[in-house]
C-alpha cells in the first residue's frame, strides 16, 4: 500500500501517492524496471468526474512523451490523457473495457490504465514531477478551481 500526501480543498479530499512520479496534467507513472505503469491521479479523476468509458491505445502502440495515451469519457467531458512515458504499450488494463469506473474507485491501484515499456525512462522521469512537487501543483489548481465555484 502506498503512502499518501493529502489535502482538503472546499469539501473535497485529494490524495497523492508518494511512490510514483506525475505528469503535470495528472497522469502518474510508476516504474517496475523499464516497464512503467500509468494511471490517473486522484485529483484528475475527481475533477474529470464519473468515468463512463475509457479507451486506451492498444498494445503495440508506440508513444512519445505527451502523446495521447487514452481518452476517458466522463459525465462531464471527454478527457485526453497525455503519456508520461516514451515507449510501447505492452499491457492495457482489461478493467478499462468492462468496468472503467474502477478509475474513480481506485485511481492508484486497480484503476491503472496501461503498462508502457519505456525506451528512455531516465529522461522521461526528469520531465515528471515527484509526489511532493505534484502535490503542491495539484493543491494550487484545486484551490483555484474552488474559488471559481
Amino acid at each position: 500500500m502506498p503512502e499518501f500526501l493529502e489535502t482538503t480543498v472546499d469539501k473535497f479530499i485529494f490524495r497523492v501517492a508518494t511512490d510514483r512520479y506525475y505528469h503535470s496534467e495528472g497522469v502518474w507513472a510508476q516504474a517496475e524496471g523499464n516497464r512503467v505503469r500509468i494511471g490517473l491521479s486522484d485529483f484528475l479523476q475527481q475533477r474529470s468526474g464519473d468515468v463512463a468509458f475509457a479507451e486506451v491505445q492498444p498494445e503495440g502502440t508506440v508513444l512519445a512523451f505527451d502523446d495521447e495515451v487514452a481518452v476517458i469519457e466522463t459525465i462531464k467531458a471527454d478527457v485526453s490523457l497525455a503519456s508520461p512515458v516514451t515507449g510501447r504499450v505492452v499491457e492495457v488494463n482489461p478493467a478499462m473495457e468492462i468496468a472503467p469506473e474502477v478509475i474513480n474507485q481506485h485511481p492508484y491501484g486497480e484503476g491503472w490504465l496501461a503498462v508502457i515499456e519505456a525506451s528512455d525512462w531516465e529522461s522521461d522521469r526528469a520531465r515528471l514531477l515527484d509526489s511532493q512537487a505534484y502535490f503542491v501543483e495539484m493543491k494550487r489548481e484545486a484551490e483555484e478551481e474552488a474559488k471559481r465555484l
Binding site: G49, D50, A52, F53, I75, E101, N104
Partner: protein, 141 residues
C-alpha cells in the same frame, strides 16, 4: 390499480445544471406522467432534503425507485435517511454504458440522444414499477 394500493414513489436526482440529472428527471416525468400515472407518485428530492413532512411520509409508506445522476447517489441516500426503502436505484451512467450510442448532451434542453436515453431509462423504471405493483397486489389480496 385498486383503490388504496400504495403508489410507487419515484425520486429523481436534483442535479440542476447537470446533463445526467436532467436525464434522470425527464425519465421520472415520463414514467409518472405518461407511462404509469396511476401507479406512481413523484417526490422531489429537494423536499426530502428540506424535511418536508408530506414528502417524508410518502417515501416512508411506499416502495421507492430512485434515479441518480452521479455516484454520490443523493436520491437513494435521502430516501433511506427519510425512513424509506429503496426498492431499486437506477444510475443514469449505468444505463448510458449499456447504450453508448445515446450520449446525452445539453442541460436545460437535452439533445435527441439524451431524450432517447431518458425514454430507455423510463421503460426500465416502468418495468420495475410493474413488478413492485404486482408484489404489492399479491400482499394485499
Amino acid at each position: 390499480m385498486s383503490e388504496g394500493r400504495r403508489k410507487v414513489v419515484i425520486v429523481p436526482c436534483s442535479g440542476i445544471g447537470k446533463t445526467y440529472g436532467t436525464v434522470s428527471r425527464e425519465a421520472a416525468y415520463e414514467v409518472v406522467e405518461d407511462m404509469r400515472p396511476a401507479e406512481t407518485q413523484l417526490v422531489a428530492l429537494s423536499l426530502l432534503v428540506l424535511g418536508d413532512e408530506d414528502a417524508r411520509a410518502a417515501v416512508a409508506g411506499s416502495p421507492a425507485v430512485t434515479i441518480d445522476g452521479c455516484k454520490l447517489a443523493c436520491a437513494a441516500k435521502m430516501v433511506e435517511e427519510s425512513g424509506g426503502t429503496v426498492a431499486q436505484d437506477f444510475a443514469v451512467l449505468d444505463v448510458y454504458r449499456r447504450h453508448r450510442q445515446l450520449k446525452p448532451k445539453g442541460i436545460a434542453e437535452l439533445n435527441e440522444a439524451g431524450h432517447e436515453l431518458a425514454r430507455v431509462l423510463a421503460e426500465e423504471i416502468a418495468a420495475v414499477v410493474d413488478s413492485l405493483s404486482r408484489d404489492d397486489g399479491g400482499e394485499n389480496a
